[in-house]
Point group: none
Chain length 191, copies 4
């Protein structure tokens, strides 16, 4: 006996993979339906239309990501420890939800995102923004706009993630450690 509303989850799963791999516009409803082993019409039982589907997906993973980062956040620890928490959070989230972070990043400024999606994405960025603002106050972080610092971290991480997914790089403990160090050096204040 299958779990309740398996089909809805199947659709979301297939949509995540396809949107991440091909993008929203290049992914057709029949593609999703076939991949999810579901009739095309079934998708419309759970989602009003294709845009509702992306937005649902986007919000789901943005929220999940935010929660991952917020969970056990070491408020009292030093800034390097906090950075480690955030960076390891990105890695953990990526491992647990294969295409999710790449999907989020590539669809962040898409024309079809609704207000809620944009708002929740804003909430996500806020975590990093707060971290960087705080760090700059104590001169622990480079005096660059927080948005630029976020771009550097995210850009690096996602580009790297793409290489790993493509099999061009292996995600060893050592590599991830080195990249974290590199990213930290990119944003920290060098005295």
């Amino acid at each position: 006996m299958p779990t309740l509303t398996t089909k809805r989850d199947d659709v979301l799963g297939s949509a995540l993979t396809l949107f991440a791999e091909r993008g929203f516009d290049a992914t057709t409803i029949p593609m999703i339906a076939t991949d999810a082993k579901v009739g095309a019409g079934t998708i419309y039982r759970y989602f009003d239309n294709k845009e509702m589907l992306v937005n649902t997906l986007f919000q789901h993973y943005v929220t999940l990501f935010r929660e991952t980062l917020e969970k056990d956040y070491p408020v009292e620890a030093d800034i390097r420890e906090q950075f480690r928490h955030l960076f390891q959070g990105m890695i953990r989230f990526t491992n647990e939800h294969d295409h999710a972070l790449y999907f989020i990043k590539t669809h962040t400024s898409a024309y079809f995102l609704d207000a809620t999606s944009r708002e929740q994405f804003g909430d996500l960025l806020m975590i990093f923004e707060t971290f960087f603002e705080e760090g700059k106050k104590h001169s622990d972080i480079r005096p660059l706009p927080s948005k630029a610092l976020i771009a550097i971290i995210f850009g690096s991480f996602l580009q790297l993630y793409q290489l790993i997914r493509a099999g061009e790089l292996e995600a060893t403990e050592e590599l991830l450690k080195g990249v974290e160090e590199s990213c930290w050096d990119a944003v920290r204040h060098h005295s």
Copy 2:
């Protein structure tokens, strides 16, 4: 008498802008034709089909970008100078060819890129790879896989460029200087 094959260039110009702004799938041939002030059929005189058009465009700008980086490469200078050359090349290219780098970034792993496009993109990365390999030999660069280092630089730069295009960040001299420093710290070997 108008310049020869002006129309072909008009098409390429319009395609670049539209692909960069809306993406390949959301850009229609009639859109390009209208923007280029050309009949839709004319596009097919110069390009076999839509995919041929993107690939031509992609290869054109990837090659141009590579040439920009290679030109006046300071082979004899020290590594920091070489890094500056590459980073300033990215900036210069971006300024001279408005949508080109963004177009390259957003279409780098697209499903419709052919072998030649992927190969030429590989050639482009090779410049950075050579730079990093050489740097690691002299312990000037962090001992990470070159691919990872490229991902960090490219990822950062392109993500940043996206913010600038979106108007969320202003490309001041100071910002660019700071970002270059940040990227350099991300890849250089810290003793």
Copy 3:
């Protein structure tokens, strides 16, 4: 304990209203199910398919209309009295079965009516045909084909009924009296 096969009647009732108001093609099975407070699948327990449902409905009301006209038919009365009976029968039927006559009118020549429906509609017209044939024999009725005379009466009445339903005309006693007179003058033999 609820009345037996209430659900079948609920479906027929909702179908009548919706078919009359929106037409067969614009009415969906889910609409009927919702309106009848019944599951969509339940409709298929009572009717093989949507076409069977319309035909059942059509036949039901055509027969009911025929019976209304036949009941207490004043066989012995003079022709004017017989005409009054028929005309008042149309009015009475309309009052008792709100959407029925309009539904019949708008679906009379529909592509999905089966042989039985067409036959029973023929039987209904037969009442008028008999009336007119008899009247022409005695030179009380205009020497036109009975079918033409029926068209005139039916066409007039139903067109009028449409206006009343649309709220553009009020069905006062006086109006109905006047229209009856008009229709009678349309078919009677003027010496």
Copy 4:
């Protein structure tokens, strides 16, 4: 060499027939395309969408019908002559534009008619309304609401027309003469 924009006319012709025979909702774009021997996409070169197509068709024939009735209107003649003009106009228009009048009548109160269509239909009715109002003033016409009188004439005529199209009645000169007389008796004031 075919006449210019033949295809647009072919589409309109096929649409008229199909809308008249099956109704708007039951007529699909592929049906029209097939009947007009035209690609489905071609229809959209000439009409924005299906609703635009019906409205164009509706307005075209309503206007044509109005012009037919207004042409050579015997303003100075007596009322019987004017009625003949109108009635013969309906016949002539029906003969020249096979399904047009039936299409107009069956789609008059459709949900998809736009403001222009409704307005132009109002203009058409105005001709009859003016005629009846004038007639009632001189006690030549029965004291019924003009709308009712129009319903009687149109209802009769169209119901009859259906019979003729179905082959159940032959449109002889004699029949049409008789029906005109009948309709006249239906609306004229009997002293």
